[in-house]
Symmetry: C2
Subunit: 340 residues, 2 copies
DNA sequence: ATATGTTATGCAATCGTTTGCATAGCTTTT
DNA sequence: AAAAGCTATGCAAACGATTGCATAACATAT
């Protein structure tokens, strides 16, 4: 029951010096100010007594918490795990801790989360919840705490962000499908109020153009969320329409799963009768039935880069905003095939 | 650029009272000590000025951080997402923030993480990394910070834990398989140094006994980690052996995926030729090929209960340790079928 | 009118660090 | 040997909140 933690003063008393001297020794930057012999004595006493600095006291004095806040919509979405991993690994290596919060796409939740983070004086924020137009981002900018957007970004040009290049992804998908002979390609679009939903749709349009295909308005369905259910709904709408299609390209892998479901329910074999493509390459996308052809976005790297930029921004608050788009890859699996 | 945060003193000056009065008003417990009229004035001034308490200063004084540390082996494992969600939701509702750390099953990492948490003076710990015999748990117990184990637990009886009831799970699986006519059931065991690996194996043995079946030593393979690769290796060993088997029960879903791979590679149809069962019911287990019959462990609840117990333990440190085992369910899908 | 009790507020110490400044104890210069 | 210059350490004031104690101000009892 050693409830009483060892403090600077304890160490100081033991060695017979003043606590400020101990502080200087324990801080690498100021270590050289004190006589080597004494420093050594202090160091050994500190480790022997098991001294650990009190992070509160330090932070209170220095106004740095070595803590960053991370906002994600819902970490039950498996695509976020690799992102968090990338963030965590990068930050941890620099002595930072990460506080995670789910916001479930609820504005109030987002607001309260930012306030919580402010109270805890996080040194920076990573925001993976932004809408294309987001008051929250304005607030954050005004407030002054360094932050970077990851995965999704608002339209603001003067804030840093790390995304995957959704346009290129779209191009790759369509050119792949076109090569397989597909012409009538349906698009199941994610929510357009998120950059992912919007940009991927733009990528689809551009890809069609580049492939010399004309997107059919009746073969595009917009969804309200990136969910299986919305994927199913969209697909049933497509099936109910009178327009034929030979391939479905979905706004993300989870929606693609919904597409699978609804097609199968209609007796249609995914990958044989109709090709399906997703986006993200979420974990286990290769295990689905059939294994899903999808755009692999380097999720771990998105996280890591976001963290890196944030660190730069923390150490130099006046650095200019940077936007990074990471190149995705097309992963061809069994859900796409030559048009019948 | 409002870098300067509003402090208690600022509010006090504005209203013309002392900062201690403001403190009392802002703290619900002591609000009644001050005249209503003044309290109202302070309250409105505080909100108007946008006062937010400085968490460090508070924590320094009160020795409470309203922060808890969470250690997981690897949050890339999709099974952990729901657990974290359960934890986060519960703690958040009580004003706590969660700091997550991956330890990748590395003892040094675990050690350094606990130290980091100590520095940050977390009010409690949730540990999902424990081995059956774990020095770390001893350390934590000695140290005195409240903690609870989740998912996995050490053998210690006097520490709290929240697990799923692995034995019952095993029974359900075996009785299901027996009912389908399976007698020669192989077991791909997870690492025995984790309670999950060990208890599930015990559950398998017990289930066999209850079903009047004799486990065949040659049909049990022990793996070093809960990974697809180990699942594959184990399966190839089983296939190489001369003993026939009609079903494979794996220590968790991820290993079951490895089993799938290796069986398919051998031209064996999972669910038809050989039945396969997993454990956990990880997200998207219903999307695999074939959809996986598995033991559903209530992951969100495991997290939530762990958090609840921790909260109790924080508010009353002398409370006695509690161990909760949540009842799992068998989810029958297409990976199991009548024996051929 | 004085003594007593009650209550609302202020004072000041404290939590454990960090850090600018003062100073004691040297060394070096002249 | 006195003056000047270093350097290593200590002193004490922060940081922003909480809280036991003192006290001013008023109400009540005698």
């Amino acid at each position: 029951m050693r409830k009483t933690r060892v403090t600077l003063k304890d160490v100081a008393n033991k060695v017979g010096v003043h606590s400020s001297t101990v502080s200087r020794v324990l801080n690498p930057e100021t270590r050289k100010m004190v006589t080597e012999e004494i420093a050594a004595k202090i160091l050994s006493a500190a480790t022997e007594m098991g001294y650990r600095p009190n992070a509160f006291a330090q932070s209170l004095k220095t106004n740095r918490s070595f803590t960053v806040g991370l906002m994600v919509p819902d970490l039950t979405n498996p695509a976020f795990a690799p992102i968090i991993k990338g963030i965590d690994n990068m930050l941890e290596a620099h002595g930072y801790s990460v506080i995670v919060a789910n916001t479930y796409n609820l504005p109030e939740k987002q607001q309260s989360t930012v306030e919580k983070f402010r109270e805890r004086h996080v040194d920076g924020l990573i925001i993976a919840t932004a809408k294309r137009k987001d008051k929250l981002i304005d607030d954050c900018r005004r407030e002054g705490t360094p932050f970077v957007q990851a995965v999704r970004a608002s339209n603001d040009t003067d804030v840093s962000s790390v995304l995957s290049d959704e346009h290129i992804g779209g191009n790759m998908v369509i050119s792949h499908l076109a090569q397989l002979g597909h012409k009538r390609i349906a698009y199941v679009a994610g929510p357009q109020l998120f950059s992912t939903g919007y940009e991927r749709y733009q990528g689809f349009l551009q890809g069609m153009k580049n492939a010399g295909l004309k997107p059919d308005r009746d073969l595009v369905v917009f969804c309200d969320e990136f969910s299986e259910e919305e994927g199913r709904n969209a697909t049933s709408k497509l099936l109910a329409g009178r327009k034929k299609f030979t391939a479905v390209y979905a706004g993300n892998d989870i929606m693609a799963l919904g597409v699978y479901d609804e097609l199968e329910a209609d007796g249609i074999k995914c990958g044989k009768d109709i090709s399906v493509v997703g986006f993200d390459d979420m974990p286990f996308a290769d295990k689905f039935n059939p294994p899903l052809t999808t755009v692999h976005t380097p999720l771990v790297n998105v996280g890591a880069e976001a963290a890196r930029i944030l660190l730069e921004n923390i150490s130099d608050p006046d650095i200019l905003a940077r936007s990074i788009k990471l190149k995705p890859d097309l992963i061809v699996r069994a859900s796409t095939g030559r048009v019948k």
